[in-house]
Subunit: 403 residues, 2 copies
């Protein structure tokens, strides 16, 4: 069977008009003789309304009942789509999590899929039916409704694609695909045609509006090729697939940037073995994520400066914990929360030498000072002053021919 | 086990505040050591909103998907109640139709209950849990969600009461109980303390705001005693039970009246065997319900006058069908749509002679002309001019000491 999975997000099914519109998309694949499995989110706004109700009942709303409550959102959207297809003369039926069944653990509100029953849907596909599967929900082994965490309809679509060995998994959303950089920061940003899972994960700051990074990771682990595109505009989207299958035109795939980082510098730290661990231990136990770290070479071989970045939200907590840290001694604590992290991302840099040099040169040409550097196999990040953000992104976008 | 079934209608769970309020009612029964099974409707207005959506999708919305769509309403209300009870420290869980399970036939939109599984709920009651059962929904033998028809949460509550041999079934609604007559027509109407199923069925015109007549019939057949009361005001309601268990203070239990009847008279009908059948046959095949019928004695023994009533909505169709009826001959067709049917109802009239006489005398004293009469074992109905409606109800209410 030539199975294709079409997943529609909340905005794609947000109004009756849009449901009519996506029904046409579904029909276009049926006409191409695909066996179509549809996965749908709730109509946009529906889940938020239900969550609001839950908060009015209790600030500690029972997790299991929360799942019963919010899963009603997808129940509505999938019945509307199935009825629309029926109206158009196609055989279609809604399938809720328990009807497929999509078996999960019982970690309510963020359950993981254990297995998906294939018999019911395969049977229906054989009869030329179009199953409309409610995303985001499943059933636990003790027969209770579970949900997979917010935005997890993508997860449902990816797992359905995996279990049913779908030829394609198309994620329809309200954006056209993944962009080379945030168009609000650099207006010449372009849509990326193909990207590897790994690059997509590194671009999470860009990609978050497209797909949540845990869904990308699910796709990577399940080896499901994703096609992200808009349900509102007819145009090719972005293909997310295995590294070796991605066509490589440019060394760099995209540029991501942040505006919610803060830089912390401890000046004159006594340099002795284990001092870094002593600095970061209290932050780690308090769930503060330390991102970039650099330790300067101390001129006198006794003192050293340690610089790191944390999210701005964690800044006050970080200051307090560091000042109260009895295991370290330092002269001064410097804070800079007017910084941005700019990253270039691309699997091409593994095999192409000189990328770091080109990056630094492009920035220095524009008189942009690099405050901290960190690198991974497919990413180079630099911390720059917030005021230089647009200039830095624009310079790098041009340097790596993304325009 | 001392099981009690508490059913809450749409207005009783219409807002978060009201859900908080009914949670207190539930707790009051738990404190009296009852094992409580709650049955709930959707929050008032919720079902109508969903139906509106279905109509926007298609004027022939698929019946099976309609059931998936509208059953989401009870899913929301029962999860909110269960979570509220959890918040208050009680063990509570929502149970949807398929989870109980409530097995139905597959007549979507108006399914009938075939059986109710007892194991799951009994088990939960034994653990001191409070199951909150979604009313109005079930699951068909082929695993699809079904609904039991509008207002059928009462039906769910009655069948649950029957299967679990509940000591009591209390239907909480937004009225205080069943009244002796419509308070808008006669403001001295009183609440009825006890009423038999049969009387309640005859009072359907009064009772419709309280319980639908098919639910009363379900209760009668299942021998479930019903207690109808308000969830908004603390006061005793009306008990609906077996004829022989109803206390009999008055001969007459209540007075019902209609304003949507019309009287049709065929003047000068050729009187021959089978003429009545010829008159009513086309009406019956066109689903027109003929209510009261009277055939006057013809003075010349050749012609006769036939009078009957139909619902005003059916009047035009009735006129057309009768005029086109080739099997009968008549001189004139008279129409009067300014009529009301006033009925006195009470099981007491079976054993008390002279009720008819008292009724007619009370009306004649007030110069109210009786147009048509019809009687059943526990009901006497008269057709009067619409302008005399209030006067007739008031006279009868006094005559039979219902004030």
């Amino acid at each position: 069977m030539k199975i294709i999975v079409l997943k529609f997000g909340g905005t794609s099914v947000g109004t009756i008009k849009r449901i009519n519109n996506i029904s046409k998309i579904i029909v276009s694949y049926l006409k191409k003789r695909f066996k179509v499995i549809v996965v749908t989110s709730a109509m946009s706004g529906a889940t938020n309304k239900l969550i609001k109700k839950s908060k009015q009942i209790s600030d500690k709303f029972n997790d299991s009942e929360y799942d019963v409550l919010v899963s009603s959102g997808e129940q509505i959207s999938c019945s509307l789509i199935a009825a629309k297809l029926s109206h158009l003369g196609y055989k279609s039926k809604s399938y809720l999590g328990w009807q497929v069944p999509i078996i999960t653990d019982n970690a309510h509100k963020s359950a993981k899929i254990i297995s998906i029953g294939k018999k019911v849907l395969i049977n229906y596909l054989r009869q030329d039916g179009v199953p409309i599967v409610a995303g985001f929900q499943g059933i636990s082994l003790d027969g209770r409704i579970t949900t997979l965490g917010r935005g997890a309809s993508d997860y449902t679509a990816i797992m359905i694609s995996k279990y049913f060995k779908a030829k394609k998994c198309i994620i329809y959303t309200d954006v056209e695909g993944v962009m080379t950089t945030d168009p609000r920061i650099y207006r010449k940003a372009k849509k990326i045609k193909e990207i590897s899972y790994e690059e997509m994960l590194e671009m999470s700051s860009l990609g978050s509006k497209v797909m949540q990074s845990n869904s990308v990771q699910d796709a990577r682990l399940s080896r499901v090729n994703i096609d992200v595109r808009s349900s509102l505009i007819k145009s090719k989207g972005t293909l997310i697939k295995k590294k070796k299958n991605v066509r490589q035109n440019n060394v760099i795939r995209g540029i991501s940037s942040t505006t919610n980082d803060a830089k912390v510098t401890l000046v004159g730290v006594k340099d002795k073995p284990g001092v870094a661990a002593s600095i970061f231990e209290p932050l780690s136990t308090n769930n503060i994520n330390v991102d970039m770290v650099v330790q300067n070479i101390s001129p006198n071989k006794v003192d050293t400066d340690v610089t790191f970045t944390v999210k701005k939200d964690d800044l006050n907590k970080t200051k307090k914990l560091t000042k109260n840290n009895k295991r370290i001694k330092f002269r001064k604590l410097l804070i800079d929360d007017k910084v941005s992290k700019v990253s270039i991302i691309g699997v091409g840099m593994i095999t192409t030498p000189g990328v770091t040099y080109r990056m630094f040169k492009a920035l220095s040409k524009k008189n942009i000072n690099i405050l901290v550097i960190s690198t991974s196999e497919i990413k180079i990040s630099v911390l720059v002053s917030r005021t230089k953000l647009r200039k830095a992104v624009s310079a790098l976008h041009k340097e790596f021919k993304l325009d």
